[in-house]
Symmetry: none
Subunit: 130 residues, 4 copies
Amino acid sequence: METSQKQAFKAISLATEKAALMGVDANIAILDTTGYLKAFSRMDNAFLGSIDIALGKAKTAMLFRMNSEAVGQFLAPEAAAYGMVNTSGGLVGFKGGMPVRSAGEIVAYIGVSGGSPDQDFEIARAGSQL
Amino acid sequence: METSQKQAFKAISLATEKAALMGVDANIAILDTTGYLKAFSRMDNAFLGSIDIALGKAKTAMLFRMNSEAVGQFLAPEAAAYGMVNTSGGLVGFKGGMPVRSAGEIVAYIGVSGGSPDQDFEIARAGSQL
Amino acid sequence: METSQKQAFKAISLATEKAALMGVDANIAILDTTGYLKAFSRMDNAFLGSIDIALGKAKTAMLFRMNSEAVGQFLAPEAAAYGMVNTSGGLVGFKGGMPVRSAGEIVAYIGVSGGSPDQDFEIARAGSQL
Amino acid sequence: METSQKQAFKAISLATEKAALMGVDANIAILDTTGYLKAFSRMDNAFLGSIDIALGKAKTAMLFRMNSEAVGQFLAPEAAAYGMVNTSGGLVGFKGGMPVRSAGEIVAYIGVSGGSPDQDFEIARAGSQL
């Protein structure tokens, strides 16, 4: 399903609102269902290093159609999937990336970085139901 | 000068409005004054190949603090600046990238791709004065 | 629209048949409508250098939803789109890449390399109508 | 020994049949004995992130002429082969990559990704004896 610009900006708006409430300066990336950049927003004062993390979390969620931290289970040393972390240009397997749904269907992927993984998760979740 | 999220989204909004009026499906990238992604929007139906071109035009404008087509003058074969096109990860030297100014000062860079170079220029210009 | 495995192999089969008739050892790549590899076949004795050309032609056609040689018009020196050839990881703008249609709709992209550009075009065309 | 197209497609066909029986949507890559892509098939609904993993497993098996998980023994943290995982553009050292043999001789390498490592192994094994 093609992600619409309207959906992408609604997701960014919901996530930004949540981040502001939580006092977190976040990078928020919206990719379409095949991983192409649809919309992006960096809140003022957000870490520059978090730009790529936000993009990577959303990409990782898209590549396996699950939350980024669920992909992370396969990347843990004890999972022994040596080298998987480097595939597809590099995976990012911790909290903050997930599918965006509308009426139950995946319409996009969101990736958030700027706070702690738990904070990023909460912010992403706020933008994941349209 | 740090680009604010407010400025970035105002630039995207102005450029999007112009693109819609012109009937062009554009990718619009806003980079801060040191080239980091601040905001991005892909209009529905815009070419996927134009995502990277929009980013490249804005980056090229930022790297030399001038319009992307002005940098292009140095990239033309007759300019004999061999290899310059490949520097900084790749320059994109045609119309659609330029500084964004507020009160005369550069506050960001905008890159647009989706229509003809002349159309992209008009759309970028619409977002270049805040 | 998602490309089916059945469609991808039908396209490869049609193109391979044509290549064999023409006496060309071709590489044939099928990408889905957003550029992910769906199927690939290298005929015996085909040039190793043509693997990446076939993939690049299909990707280039996909990125701009047109034949690879149509994108090539923008890459010609006189078009002055300096640096465009390097965007999206590198474009390949000559004959051999095009959309694959079924019932008029684009369902995939095909890229062929191994013969002359005109031969590659004929082979790709043979696989472009399902 | 050069991999023939006929061998490559037989391997893909055998592996696909096994994957279908197991209910796994797999990416299946066949590389020749020097690592060049010979044939590829992505089953419908297979993870996009598994494309690169399938290619990586086959490449890893080829580079050391052994199963990908055997290479993985050298990549485990306790093996202390620091940085080896990043060599040759990135190794992928878990189950799913192995040599393809015909009459006892290695004629190609197969890489499979889409299910669990154990499932990928079974699918690859089905395609590894021609």
